[in-house]
Symmetry: C2
């Protein structure tokens, strides 16, 4: 087990009706907030009104900014920074999924920074100041509601990059599982893949003696595997939605990575895909992760065998851990297919040629190798894209 430091200040307010607390929570920080959201879905499903009612009751003055898109764009971040500066706003409330929250985080560090906010995403620069933010979550997937990360796409060149700092954790996050009832099936499934990927990026490690976090990872994965088909079949099943929602936070609040060397190659390989082709991130992961597994599993067959047995409940073949390991990869791929996700690039509605794969592989590794389970260079990444085809 590696030495580690773990601290997560985010206050989680979980359950039915918890959006009624949002006004009181914001009031702890400011009387004036930027209300950030995505498309119009929160207006159609009533979430907008319910949040606004609570803000009104607490007398919070609100400036609205909508239009955050999936794979959120730097241009909207810059617009948000401008609005906050002009209107002297010192609190940001993000109502939505990971894209809205990540945009809020980017705005929160951009407002007090004199330079270009992209600096935080293109370099390892420390974050010294930020506006406090709160969230009302509508899509369990990204885990951004209590994570220290934010991922933004710079339209020019299709660069999708992240900033990570404890300063980026929201002050509070309100999680009402009912808010996920109206998610389209594809989004529910993509969210599940994203949650599972956050756990698996931590689970696949060569670090030894990480038994406790192994088991916490396995338990979180099993929870998503058990509950996603239920949520797809019965979109208004509160219990299944609640399990998935809480799992999404746990998967990415850093607890599951404590003491471990994490991997993150699959995320980086996927980011090229969604940065270039605007693929839904979770769906991209459903394609990339099994391909990554096929490429690397022989480096640590024991870990993949444990994955097969403990996560998928399959018997161990004691005479061939390799065969056992492959059983787990197949189980994952089958699961993604069963919940309606693509598991190959050619299932996507985009045209990706050989040259494109090479370009993505080069861009993915332009700062050096990616991943820790196996350190991958451009050739490795290209091979993984090819397996994914």
């Amino acid at each position: 087990m590696q030495n580690f430091t773990f601290q997560n200040r985010t206050k989680i307010i979980f359950g039915r009706g918890t959006e009624e607390q949002v006004g009181v929570e914001v009031k702890n920080y400011s009387g004036r907030a930027l209300f950030l959201y995505g498309g119009g879905s929160i207006k159609r499903n009533g979430i907008y009104d319910r949040v606004m009612d609570s803000l009104d009751s607490s007398g919070i003055e609100v400036v609205e900014l909508g239009g955050v898109q999936p794979n959120p764009r730097l241009s909207l971040v810059k617009e948000g920074i401008k609005v906050c500066r002009e209107d002297e706003i010192d609190f940001i409330l993000a109502v939505g999924g990971g894209s809205v929250i990540d945009t809020a985080k980017a705005i929160s560090i951009g407002v007090p920074y004199e330079g270009d906010v992209w600096d935080f995403y293109s370099t390892d620069m420390d974050i010294e100041e930020s506006l406090p933010i709160g969230t009302v979550l509508t899509i369990p997937a990204a885990g951004s509601e209590s994570s220290p990360g934010s991922v933004i796409t710079k339209e020019e060149g299709g660069y999708k990059r992240d900033a990570v700092d404890n300063e980026l954790r929201p002050e509070f996050s309100i999680l009402n599982p009912e808010f996920t009832y109206t998610l389209p099936e594809y989004q529910t499934a993509s969210g599940a893949a994203d949650i599972m990927a956050h756990v698996m990026e931590r689970y696949f490690t060569n670090e030894e003696h990480v038994g406790l976090t192994d088991r916490l990872c396995e338990g979180t994965l099993r929870t998503v595997i058990e509950n996603t088909p239920v949520a797809l079949e019965e979109p208004e099943n509160y219990d299944a939605r609640a399990e998935i929602t809480w799992a999404s936070t746990i998967a990415h609040n850093d607890l599951l990575g404590t003491g471990r060397v994490e991997d993150w190659a699959s995320h980086k390989i996927e980011h090229e895909l969604s940065g270039m082709y605007d693929v839904t991130h979770g769906a991209g992961l459903a394609i990339v992760f099994p391909a990554w597994m096929e490429y690397v599993y022989q480096e640590n067959v024991e870990r993949f065998a444990q994955f097969t047995t403990r996560v998928w409940g399959k018997e161990t073949n004691y005479y061939s851990l390799e065969r056992t390991a492959r059983g787990g990869i197949k189980a994952l791929k089958d699961f993604f297919s069963d919940i309606g996700l693509p598991t190959n690039l050619n299932e996507l509605d985009v045209n990706i040629g050989d040259g494109d794969l090479e370009e993505m592989a080069n861009k993915c590794t332009e700062d050096g190798t990616v991943g820790n389970f196996v350190k991958l260079d451009a050739e490795d990444v290209l091979e993984i894209y090819r397996i994914a085809r």
Copy 2:
């Protein structure tokens, strides 16, 4: 799943050599600290010197207060409050196990409070102010290093009572698993029982659809079950000590109880025992918990059957969940015996008569029934003491 709010601000600094950071951490809060500890063990094993060196390097002025005993006493709390007031100390560093940390917490709320600090333990009074505290953990057991609780014993009448409030969470806790190498076997084992009890108080619930936290609980229990025998056999096995240490924090930082109705009857029943007879808390739990289980398991045989199968890895008897359930209780009792703990009152070196049991049962329930899995009155508690005999 119940609605819940979860927030845990404690910064965990985990691993070898992390005590070197204590001075810098304290310096974030004050240049002057009360250094609180227990008996002389930290002087013999070198922990005292290592912590003091770090405090010196950061120029922290230190006032020492030693002598905290197991089942920590109100009298020492009052002494600590007096010292802090006289010397104008505004930070408390607890170096030790749960007793030292709980004493630090009591002092931290007593200093700014004009009344009797026992008020916080004898009533539900809100805690409005406290001094910040930090900890250097030497015994993985109580989980007080990031919990919101403190348990203190009032010598007069042998009352052992708790105060619980988010305000009581330490600002930081330094966990170096090497510091647990020199623990006597009985303390290592008692600590394991305490950790397991913290999980089981949450695990045994009638709340349905708490699948994620079920699995997190089960994983934490299995970790302790796997690693405690290793630590007893090889006291300097870092990996086993590290797993147990991190499990002790996870078991009691409130995450595992999210969304659940918790029980806590066994703790209350045990507190009478250790309050009256100064029994080691973990050892007392090893006696009380299996007795409580025998008394209540028929109320929810399914949950106990799940415990047997998932925690102890035993096959389910599908034709008799009741028999399956009893297998788990037996496995727990056998495990406690195997690691050298008493599992019956008569194994303790104290003389407890029938009248004493009645007195404890009455005192335990003087504020009403205890527990939620089954609400227990004085007669029920008495019966559990009798089963434990």
